[in-house]
């Protein structure tokens, strides 16, 4: 599904990713943990094609294609989805129009017929229900005045409607109450179909109680410094990152 080799990336003249390798197979769930500022979100932004995130070396292959050569919207259309750590507020653009525009664009590129308004509405309502966000939020501006948790739920709604192949969730569980954590877990688990792959960036082992990862990685200093199975997450929870950083150094 996704193969990242020796990825180096720079933001505002500062090298953040420094030789990152990661391989994700179809249907797999990977968790990425790591200290603040280690480059987890940067990785997500690089994969999603955010301007200003300059790749200086390495490669990313997505389903056999050079992901880095694709425009941001092409990546999304071909099934890469990033749930932002800090979703963006867009006052004046209604959530509903935004969702319809995205779903239409993605479906169109896949050669699927556009959804008629009624079917779309039905799906949007179902997604709201699954994300436990009142349907009224569809009428508001995109993330406009949403609480932190509501924004995360809105990201889930987008993910459910767009049905991506590769879902990158950047701390979607942060800032959520315990119930909401289960909502995220349910959202992700309901989308697991053996083919769809997930990368969960999280600081909390808690989430992994609900979504069982196949692999856990530690990202520190812009590289994956340790990979393991879910027990690694438990170790980290107990011991923090210091021992790893010492080891790496």
């Amino acid at each position: 599904m996704l193969k990242i080799q020796n990825l180096h990336a720079r933001v505002e003249g500062k090298d953040i990713l420094r030789g990152l390798d990661l391989q994700i197979g179809p249907g797999e769930v990977h968790a990425i943990m790591g200290p603040n500022g280690s480059g987890k979100s940067t990785l997500g932004h690089v994969l999603a094609g955010r301007p200003g995130y300059e790749v200086t070396d390495g490669s990313v292959t997505y389903r056999g294609e050079d992901l880095l050569a694709m425009d941001t919207e092409e990546r999304a259309r071909s099934g890469v989805f990033l749930a932002f750590q800090y979703p963006v507020e867009i006052p004046g653009v209604s959530n509903m129009e935004f969702l319809k525009a995205s779903v239409d664009a993605v479906r169109e590129s896949r050669g699927d017929a556009a959804l008629d308004a009624v079917t779309f509405m039905k799906r949007a309502r179902e997604a709201c229900k699954a994300a436990d966000l009142p349907v009224d939020f569809l009428k508001r501006g995109v993330n406009e005045g949403f609480s932190g948790g509501e924004k995360k739920r809105n990201e889930l709604i987008q993910m459910m409607l767009l049905e991506p192949s590769l879902c990158l969730l950047d701390e979607t569980d942060s800032g959520l109450d315990i119930d909401a954590l289960q909502v995220v877990a349910k959202g992700v688990n309901s989308l697991r179909d053996g083919k769809r792959s997930f990368v969960l960036v999280t600081h909390y082992q808690r989430l992994l109680n609900y979504i069982e990862p196949d692999h856990v990685h530690v990202l520190a200093g812009g590289r994956i410094v340790r990979s393991g199975d879910k027990s690694l997450a438990l170790d980290l929870e107990e011991r923090g990152y210091a021992w790893l950083e010492d080891e790496v150094a």
């Binding site: 999603a48 094609g49 955010r50 301007p51 425009d71 941001t72 919207e73 990546r75 999304a76 259309r77 989805f81 990033l82 932002f84 979703p87 963006v88 507020e89 867009i90 006052p91 004046g92 653009v93 209604s94 129009e97 935004f98 319809k100 525009a101 995205s102 239409d104 664009a105 993605v106 590129s109 501006g141 995109v142 987008q158 767009l162």
Partner: protein, 432 residues
């Protein structure tokens, strides 16, 4: 020939307005055209004014067809003018109880007496030469009279179509609204080019008088295009507890300058003043607004937003003047601008002049470009850059359109504006 020489020579106000007209003419000839050194006109050069504007004779104006988007109308009375000439065949006058509407030319004696009493009382003292020019060249006007406590639900739609097909055309229009105490009404002023490119000069001056506790919804839409020039003004006076909700829109053309002046004359008056300006190409739009808080306990909420594209230029000057007696005033002014090209330019200047101490005032002006992060976010969801730009541009003014009370007008404007930002209509399809 000089600027407006023929229209001045052929001005024909009804006889009972002729002394007013004569005053306008002497003020006009005594005055001078503003230059770039005139403070109020600093960023609006008048180089586009021509010397050969002519008034269209009624017999020259062939009947027109209404643009499709307007054929359905707004569901009320409609007066239509083409090149300043009244078109009964396009108009439909159904006056609900409590509403009187006439053209100056058709005024009854009683109406004429009211017009003569009130006309030019809000504009007259101003040093603004183009207001004098309007009076000086006046031929026809519209008088709207809402009786005390009348609750008029349907809008009065005044539509000035500009065709100017044969020669550069001068159009001088005047509107007087007298809303008596406790009345409710809606008036829509709309200026629209029929074919687009022709040269014309319109002077549209409107006076709104709101007596105690009157509520007026007022809309003024400038959709003249191409070579059209409009220099016009709206003057409103609000007595005790009166409420004015005034919405302004200008699409660009060669030059548009609109002065909006609201005078709070009785305590408890409230004004909502909202506006949108959208010049592109090499168009120029200039809004000058002035709110006079002359008495205590009045409130004003003013929001103007502009999107300026290509090499277009815009001016927004918003002045709030709080007189010494106007304690307990609350006034807020916000002007935000979005530049969608590197060559677009806006000059924005909010001016607060406060001479009372117990007041609550806020003002702010911003000039920004399309938000890169918002654009990126939309693209990460598969939306193309072009469509995302259209959505963000429309989103910038959407709130003001959504806030319009008159639903048929909202429905008329929404697709019109959404498509305006899109090179092709499919890019606007999710906004319709």
């Amino acid at each position: 020939m000089g600027f407006m020489e023929q229209p001045l020579a052929e001005a024909r106000a009804p006889h009972w307005l002729q002394s007013l007209q004569a005053r306008g003419q002497s003020r006009w000839s005594a005055g001078k055209l503003p230059t770039r050194r005139t403070e109020n006109w600093k960023y609006t050069p008048l180089t586009g004014l021509r010397d050969d504007y002519r008034v269209a004779a009624a017999s020259d104006v062939a009947p027109a067809k209404l643009p499709d988007a307007l054929a359905q109308g707004l569901g009320g009375t409609r007066l239509v003018f083409v090149d300043g000439v009244y078109q009964p065949s396009l108009s439909s006058v159904e006056l609900p109880e409590g509403l009187q509407l006439c053209r100056f030319a058709d005024a009854s004696d009683a109406q004429a007496a009211l017009i003569a009493e009130h006309l030019d009382t809000l504009v007259g003292g101003q040093a603004e030469p183009f207001a004098s020019l309007n009076t000086a060249t006046l031929r026809d006007g519209v008088f709207l009279h809402v009786a005390a406590n009348a609750d008029v639900q349907t809008p009065v739609h005044l539509l000035w179509l500009v065709r100017a097909a044969d020669a550069p055309t001068a159009i001088s229009q005047r509107v007087l609204v007298l809303a008596e105490s406790g009345s409710r009404a809606t008036v829509v002023e709309q200026f629209l080019s029929l074919n687009g490119a022709e040269a014309s000069f319109t002077s549209g001056v409107t006076e709104l008088k709101l007596e105690a506790n009157a509520k007026l919804h007022h809309y003024r839409l400038h959709e003249e295009s191409g070579e059209a020039i409009h220099i016009g003004a709206v003057h409103a006076r609000l007595e005790r507890d009166a409420n004015l909700d005034s919405f302004h829109l200008a699409l660009g053309s060669r030059l548009k300058r609109v002065d909006v002046v609201v005078h709070h004359a009785g305590p408890g008056a409230h004004a909502d003043l909202n506006g949108v300006y959208l010049p592109r190409g090499d168009e120029h739009i200039d809004y000058h607004t002035t709110i006079e808080h002359a008495v205590p306990h009045c409130t004003t909420d003013e929001v103007f937003r502009g999107i300026v594209g290509d090499k277009a230029t815009a001016v927004f000057n918003g002045r709030i003047h709080i007189h010494p007696d106007a304690q307990k005033t609350r006034a807020e002014l916000s002007n935000r601008n979005l530049l969608t090209s590197t060559e677009a330019e806006v000059n924005t200047k909010p001016e607060l002049e406060i001479y009372a101490d117990d007041v609550q005032c806020a003002h702010g002006a911003t000039v920004a470009r399309i938000d890169d992060l918002a654009l990126h976010y939309l693209r990460t969801r598969g939306v193309s850059r072009d469509e995302a730009e259209v959505m963000l541009s429309f989103g910038f003014i959407n709130e003001l359109i959504d806030g319009m009370a008159l639903e048929p007008l909202r429905e008329y404007l929404r697709p019109l504006l959404a498509k305006r930002f899109a090179r092709d209509d499919t890019l606007a399809r999710h906004l319709l």
